[in-house]
Symmetry: C3
Subunit: 387 residues, 3 copies
Amino acid sequence: MAGQDAPRKAAVRTPPGTLLDHHCHGVLRTDPDPAAFEAFLTEADGPAAPGTSFFDTQLGFAVRRWCPPLLGLEPHCTPERYLARRRELGAREATRLLLRGSGIGAYVMDTGLPGDITGPAELAELSGAPVHEIVRLERLAELAADTTGDADAFLAELAAGIRSAATTAVGFKSVAAYRYGLDLAPEPPALHEVREAAANWLKKRPKGDRPREQDDRLRDPVLLRHLLWSAVATRLPLQLHTGFGDPDLRLHRCDPLLLTDFIRATRRSGTPLILLHGYPYHRNAAYLAHVYPHVYADMGLTLSHTGARAGAVLAEMLELTPFGKLLFSTDAYGLPELYVVGSRLFREGLDELLGTWTGSGAWSRTDAERVTELLASKNAERVYSAL
Amino acid sequence: MAGQDAPRKAAVRTPPGTLLDHHCHGVLRTDPDPAAFEAFLTEADGPAAPGTSFFDTQLGFAVRRWCPPLLGLEPHCTPERYLARRRELGAREATRLLLRGSGIGAYVMDTGLPGDITGPAELAELSGAPVHEIVRLERLAELAADTTGDADAFLAELAAGIRSAATTAVGFKSVAAYRYGLDLAPEPPALHEVREAAANWLKKRPKGDRPREQDDRLRDPVLLRHLLWSAVATRLPLQLHTGFGDPDLRLHRCDPLLLTDFIRATRRSGTPLILLHGYPYHRNAAYLAHVYPHVYADMGLTLSHTGARAGAVLAEMLELTPFGKLLFSTDAYGLPELYVVGSRLFREGLDELLGTWTGSGAWSRTDAERVTELLASKNAERVYSAL
Amino acid sequence: MAGQDAPRKAAVRTPPGTLLDHHCHGVLRTDPDPAAFEAFLTEADGPAAPGTSFFDTQLGFAVRRWCPPLLGLEPHCTPERYLARRRELGAREATRLLLRGSGIGAYVMDTGLPGDITGPAELAELSGAPVHEIVRLERLAELAADTTGDADAFLAELAAGIRSAATTAVGFKSVAAYRYGLDLAPEPPALHEVREAAANWLKKRPKGDRPREQDDRLRDPVLLRHLLWSAVATRLPLQLHTGFGDPDLRLHRCDPLLLTDFIRATRRSGTPLILLHGYPYHRNAAYLAHVYPHVYADMGLTLSHTGARAGAVLAEMLELTPFGKLLFSTDAYGLPELYVVGSRLFREGLDELLGTWTGSGAWSRTDAERVTELLASKNAERVYSAL
């Protein structure tokens, strides 16, 4: 129970009026070329279909709406003009301007993604805001596998890694949805099963610093369950990817309802589970947050990718999710533009929605202001600091 | 075929301008304390997460919008103030004021829920409106099991109970979705299977007036199917829980589409099937009501729990559901506030929607008025009285 | 690889300002009686429930809104008045007036539906617009089965039919969703499996010109897969029915996500896959179009049947679907009214949506105009002409 012994970390807090982005990634250290920039605007993993562009998406349009003004251009200028201005400023200055214009007052960053992207300290320096860390479980396991030879050593190293992470990170994250699907057996695997699965995986896995390939990655369902239950034992908040993402996942196996029995099994654990993204199953995630006390919901990727529709999708989340259970995040990765877009779409969508509801008398203005604060930062502060 | 011999019951009718609530439960006889009151605002089965309140939900906000004025307070007053006023009036008077302010002109009540709640006669007296009865199949079976010793006696008692209920009730209801899921085999079980399942269940079930526990409840899929087919044979309308509810159910096993083969199998029976609630699978329920002549849809729980979003969800129901196939209900239980909220959200949501559609020219005003009457009461009157 | 050798067909193009309907059927040659007319307003396969009418649906209301003015009547006149006027004009003149008032500039027609309906040449003459052809795979197989005696002859005849169709049609269509479901094994079946499945099907199938019954139709999953892969090999666009339709299908087996592994398997084929209709799984179809370069989405049936809600559903499609990936169609069949309604609802819904988005500054007007052209015709022109 590492969480119980862990030194208390600095509380996750934001300045008034700013957002707490409880789930994001690093930004690129260098200027992307146009094709690389465009690739960050989609969950697709290859080039756009002939005759089409990833700029012609809700996210592409949202970037062209919100970001040019932060770099001194008019909204909706052409991609070419925008990218030219960005190059002119240089990656570092563009990133600084965008992050500081995003309205985000604190970050919780998943450090488990590859690429030439910033770590927490660099993001803090560029953004001028504190950055906390979330540790990706599958990455911990892969690191442990890189440095150990047999199942017992691997499991010991992994346990030490989780213990250690629990002393510095504010939570864990699992991408089991990508690696296998959420249709995992709900109960903790038996030790002998874990040992056997570890031995099999290590045997098949290339060693050393040979270039990592997809097959190196942890996809074994027994080990994925072992990771989840190891994280649950720390009692730190556990983020779970659910819903859409890149084509490495099969969407119908990422319905958060597939976690129902796991959620039941962890109900008495004291560990908050945070269902990320959810879309297009976000109403299902909302239901789970409604009926299970330790389940929270997030919108993450969803708002950025739905752009002009972000407010409409947020409205669907606000049907069943108790207002003390919904957290804001951007899931931004690579482009600082994605922080801007994620936060603007959230702010604008929520303001418009609550404006309508207070206007019709459905909600009181006082309640609307209180709920805005809950979603913007206070829910996340409560979940990540109540340890 | 008890339904064919049954004496004709009083037709289910409502005074003009009022709603026919075709699916509700009793109200509490006594004043709930604040925690008990709050517990009725959620489908969760335990306390709210630390730092959160069930008042901070769409349903909580809707109660605070619509109910205080009926008790002489301003809308959106604090929960504390509202509960104090309620105590001051006393449970009976508060209940009377709320029910009589709900705009509901007739009730169809499921009497199968436990607790110190009113029966039909008391509800009629408090509300000043006629109350008809729906009999919950699983409760009938549990009552039969309480008083019989072996499978044959149990089945005979159950058959008599269904026959008798068909002479007084206007329909049946099944909560198979909670007890097992809707992924039941579609065909009627063979008699020998039913007998064997009954014997097994009776053997495991505690007897007499020992306090009822969850395990006493009927969960056997063969017996649940036997109940469904026994009800179908009466030709009385059969209500089926579908979609969300408390965490006793697994939501993905409550998708009404799982009933597709049962619906096909009962198509020639002459028995109307009414799919309750549906959310978040309400568009699936709408589809079934669209293509199968004996299938009807309802919104029940959905409108109350989605509050300021009730009109938006109702709009989704009105995509595929033929306008002669959608029924109004509150699914209210325990708190008289839930009748008020259910009916106001329905009225307001529908008025706003049809106002928009007539305003744009999409619908004519005459059609809008006619559809309002269908949904408010005439569809239910037709379904429950055409026997 | 018939597609590679095929003579280049006339490009699919539309006059400026008109729509390209990339998926429709023929219209009735004769005047339907009232019951027959009403039957075309629903996906149900029998009469409406007692006391209800298929005119009381979103589609019924949309027909009464948009069509009477094209025949010289006021919008929302009664069905009786409308049908009387239609009879007065005669089927041919009413059809001509409706089709020429639909705003559709070119058609791509699936010729595989039965009934006394027009073929492509007649539709072209009535509408004054070019009509291209889509060939329904299952129909090709059934035609081949009608004229051959054993599995090898059948497979040879089928292969010849597909080769020949690829020289004249602009694409293929599969209704495997109806015949089996989309939960087909994703890989191409082995030749020996196909031969065995063909032999079994031919053996059970009645021969000659005996009246066709449901059981004659191709439902074997191995043969359905063989058809899909045969079409993929031509590299012509392949339309796949997904989502709702008449009760011959089981809706939960028509979720386009069930095609995920087939989509992965065909990713390098160069064959565009077009997911038709999608509803209520249209957000899932949008996701697939988002992440896989060769996948496109369509709304088809959905807009007509959701009527006043068409714009709202279109908005959901425009969350994840890249704007270069969404195609317009009516899926009109039998009634010329369905062309009118499909095109008007699309135009009106899109205009209103983009008006809102440009009004709020979310989109630029230039982008909105460009996206309107993409959806109206340019996406389809690109997909069907890039051969």
